[in-house]
């Protein structure tokens, strides 16, 4: 579990220790390791980055340099429900900015990159996500949501609020079932959300690097 100083669990550290064996050189393990760290903590704390550097025996500054380069690594806390909304041209031409305004209003997020006061939501404006034929679209809980309308945004946000205390990460389609990875608004979910987000551990198998024997 998440400790007070934002450090990684022993379990996560053990997984990180096993990563370098998969690559010809140890540095290739840095991003998968940061991925594991972010999945556990929600964002990359300075303590976690230092731990990754220690475990992989790499300079801490180097690890931070990698973390700051890539958009998908968060160096600040994000909401429990984090939306990546595409506003690049194909989506913008089909109303992405109106969708953004609506999403910000519905989630109570004041601006991109900030977390709502209840800690539940954050919204990030991102570049093209490569699903242009379904514009406007967004990425949320490791799935793409297509053909967005204000009504669809409302449904997503309401479902997120209902999910409450134990939001299991919505996993992408299990191996070899659905040919198209589209997850609609979750209909299950428990009522009565708490006001404050508890520490989370949202780790799904699908977000991890593939373990191989090669």
């Amino acid at each position: 579990m998440r400790s007070a100083d934002g450090a990684l669990s022993e379990e996560a550290l053990a997984e990180i220790r096993a990563l370098p064996a998969r690559f010809p050189e140890i540095r290739s393990a840095v991003m998968p390791a940061l991925d594991l760290a972010q999945e556990e903590l929600g964002y990359l704390t300075p303590a976690a980055m230092a731990q990754v550097a220690g475990v992989l025996d790499i300079d801490p500054g180097y690890v931070e340099g990698v973390a700051t380069f890539y958009t998908l690594f968060h160096l600040q806390p994000v909401g429990r429900h984090h939306f990546y909304v595409c506003t690049n041209l194909s989506c913008a031409l089909r109303g992405a900015y109106q969708i953004c305004s609506h999403l910000l209003a519905q989630t109570g997020v004041s601006r991109f990159g900030e977390v709502s006061q209840d800690g539940l939501f954050s919204v990030e404006e991102v570049e093209c996500l490569g699903a242009c034929e379904y514009a406007p679209m967004l990425r949320y809980q490791h799935a793409y949501h297509y053909d967005l309308t204000p009504a669809k945004i409302d449904a997503l946000v309401q479902a997120a609020r209902r999910e409450g205390a134990q939001p299991a990460a919505v996993a992408p389609p299990p191996s070899g079932t659905a040919p198209v990875p589209m997850v609609g608004p979750s209909e299950q979910g428990t009522p009565a959300p708490p006001q404050v987000a508890p520490p989370r551990r949202r780790r799904s198998a699908a977000t991890r690097q593939e373990k191989t024997d090669g």
Binding site: R22, F23, P24, E25, I26, R27, S28, V30, M31, P32, D35, G65, V66, F69, Y70, T71, L72, F73, Y84, T87, N88, L89, S90, A92, L93, R94, Y97, S101, L104, R111, F112, E125, V126, E127, C128, L129, G130, A131, C132, E133, Y134, A135, R139, H142, A143, Y144, Y146, P172, P173, S175, G176, P179, V180, P181, M182, A206, Q209, E210, T212, G214
Partner: protein, 445 residues
Amino acid sequence: MVELRGSHAQAREHLLTGLFGTYGLHTLDVYRRHGGYETLARALRELEPEQIQAEVKASGLRGRGGAGFPTGTKWSFIPKDIPGPRYVVVNFDEAEPGTSKDRYLVENSPHLLLEGIGIACRAIGSHQAWIYIRGEYDGPYGMLRAAIAELRGAGILGDRPFDSDFALDIQLYRGHGAYICGEETALLESLEGKRAQPRSRPPFPAVKGAWGRPTLINNVETLATLPWIVRHGGEAYAQFGTEKSKGTRMLSVSGNVQKPGVYEVELGTSFRTVIMELAGGPPEGREVKVFWPGGSSAPVLTGSMLDTSTDLDELARIGSMGGSGGVIVMDDSHCIVKAAARLLQFYAHESCGKCTPCRVGSNWAVRTFDRIQAGRGSAVDMQILDRIQASLQGGRCLCGLGDSAGWVIDSTVKHFRAEYEAHCLSRVCPTGECEFARVEAPAVA
């Protein structure tokens, strides 16, 4: 399940997409029932690497990632005499704005890509392939992971695939959100666990690529074309297309069209057919104002140029390019300055910061566009934009990102100078779109 938007049934020109839409095609079982992996088996058991290379050369296939470089020629750069490991690296970092064809391909038929990778491995004598997939592609990642697991279970990945002595393995590596990783040397840096900044060349990846080893980097669609070429022969593939642009390619059509989707067309098909027929044209009562023929980096063409061919050389001749096959269509209700401003934000955000013209120029352009859109533009801003675009182009940058940013400014000003002048000199937006308040001006890195 979500509606399939694009080519997905048998047709003469559907060399890649003919089986798409078949129930269960993403599973090994169904893929094999339709002849899948027969070509890889033949490549491993009966064909010599030189024979595969010869077929690909004869096919005239050109890379589908953006540059359109002849695939057979690229393969021939891989040295034959260097001992030790060599790699096939798959560029699945599809991030060019307006481009979704590789996602569409893998979501429909992950095994088509994997079979193509196997054939490429055989052709250059590599036993290990890496698929660099952009981190946001959760769905395709899950499907490839499942498909690779199926192949391991069936022994098609392993020490003796199809009872040959050619060991084969494919690994997945996730990117973490950086457009620059589509540039092949930046992709290699990222695969090696570094900040993704392009390398200076030479040495080229063919000689010194991933982890210092000879490396072949190809786009997803390019590799997925190999099973067809090796099965039917390079000559048969060359029957499709034009004299210099052989075969078919997948175009993702997006923006202001009635039927956005990923359409496989024979090269040489006109954009009028692609945009007005396949994609249904602009909304009722609207005209095509402008379109990007090959991703946001391809210089724009106007609605009067719809009869332009998708032939790569024809596009180059008129000053644009086939690029990544992402066709973005904008109708006459939208403002060209606003569109260009949004794209410059993209290039500024994605500039890796390694070389000065791109890092400084793209951000300077964003500030200039901000001023123009805020109604504070002037004749000087037109000059500034012109100077920036000239400084970004012509090989002044380490990779194509800087040139692309320059082309956006250059081509939109060239075709729509009057609209720019209205913004800068008269401070009005002819479409009225720039009056709309933005949600927020995003901070530029």
